[in-house]
């Protein structure tokens, strides 16, 4: 692109900066993973998970790294890979659940993204079956100007 005196680092779309995927490990357990690009971080307290049908049994995100923020005080953030398991309130062998993930993060260069709300249809294996295939988050909805 013309005009810029010194090319600043590229800034990624939120979906690429925080690549989300999920997998049904067994009839009652999902694995959720964020691959967070270098130079980006997610806030732990902005993570939110829900499923339908049913509920999640108390999803607890792993501890993050403590960051002393001049505005928000002590906040926990994640960098690199964030992987956690979510347990459904009841097994749903051979079916699929709709997983809704909310996340919010920033880039070290000084930009922040609004809360991203992503929806994945996650298949669940039957008892004794291998884990279901990995599901990657769908691209963001098209807006008026796409």
């Amino acid at each position: 692109m013309r005009g810029a005196a010194a090319a600043p680092p590229e800034i990624l779309e939120a979906e690429r900066a925080f690549a989300l995927s999920a997998q049904g490990l067994d009839p009652q357990t999902l694995s959720v993973r964020f691959e967070i690009a270098d130079g980006y971080y997610l806030y732990r307290d902005k993570l939110n998970f829900s499923v339908s049908p049913g509920n999640l049994a108390a999803p607890i995100a792993p501890p993050g790294k403590i960051k002393e923020d001049q505005f928000f005080g002590k906040v926990e953030t994640y960098r690199g890979r964030l992987q956690m398991e979510l347990t459904l309130d009841a097994p749903r062998p051979g079916s699929a659940v709709t997983l809704v993930v909310e996340s919010q993060g920033c880039a070290d260069v000084g930009v922040c993204y609004p809360v991203q709300r992503q929806t994945l249809a996650v298949p669940l294996p039957r008892p004794g079956e291998r884990p279901a295939p990995l599901v990657e988050a769908a691209p963001r909805r098209k807006s008026w100007f796409n």
Binding site: E10, I11, D69, Q70, Q104, V111, S143, W144
Partner: protein, 179 residues
């Protein structure tokens, strides 16, 4: 309350539609590859009216003829908060020469008010909600990230767009040429 939100939404949508309806898009010279070609003509933005933190509706058009710095921000965005005291300083210093900052918060009024008071904001801060993010996108913020700042010259044209913090030296250099 809901009526006000509905009205704001209608106003923002009207501005977006006006923009989509054929205002020409020109390439901005400044900025990185994440900045989409944005409208050079800021009239669609200047046609927007949004409530300020007191709930009074403010039309951006009232500042036409000044050098207007429109800063899209939010309280949940630390880098946005970090640069705002700088804007307060520059507004105090250059306001008399025709510089006008306008903040548009992609946020809720009850979150914006305490912060605006805390840092002593001396320029209008308007409450745009999430619709403001779409508005910023129409002016090149294709990643819909914050802070995002537009500098509009006295002729009502976008002179600069910036995703990420605007350093004070850079801000002063750009604004100095336009005042």
């Amino acid at each position: 309350m809901n009526k006000k939100i509905a009205r704001t939404t209608v106003l923002v949508m009207a501005a977006l539609l006006a923009l989509a309806a054929g205002v020409h898009f020109g390439q901005r010279g400044l900025g990185g590859p994440w900045l989409a070609p944005a409208a050079k003509d800021a009239s669609a933005l200047l046609a927007v009216a949004l409530p300020d933190i007191e709930g009074r509706e403010q039309a951006l058009g009232q500042w036409k003829g000044k050098v207007v710095v429109v800063n899209f921000w939010a309280t949940w965005c630390a880098p946005c908060r970090e640069e705002m005291p700088e804007f307060v300083r520059v507004q105090a210093e250059l306001g008399g020469k025709g510089l006008q900052f306008v903040g548009i918060a992609v946020d809720q009024a009850d979150k914006v008010q305490p912060f605006a008071r805390e840092i002593g904001v001396n320029y209008p801060v308007l409450i745009g909600g999430y619709g403001a993010m779409e508005l910023s996108k129409a002016f090149g913020n294709k990643l819909m990230a914050l802070p995002f700042t537009l500098i509009i010259n006295r002729q009502g044209e976008v002179a600069h767009t910036q995703l990420g913090p605007l350093k004070e030296t850079q801000l002063r250099a750009i604004v100095g040429q336009l005042l």
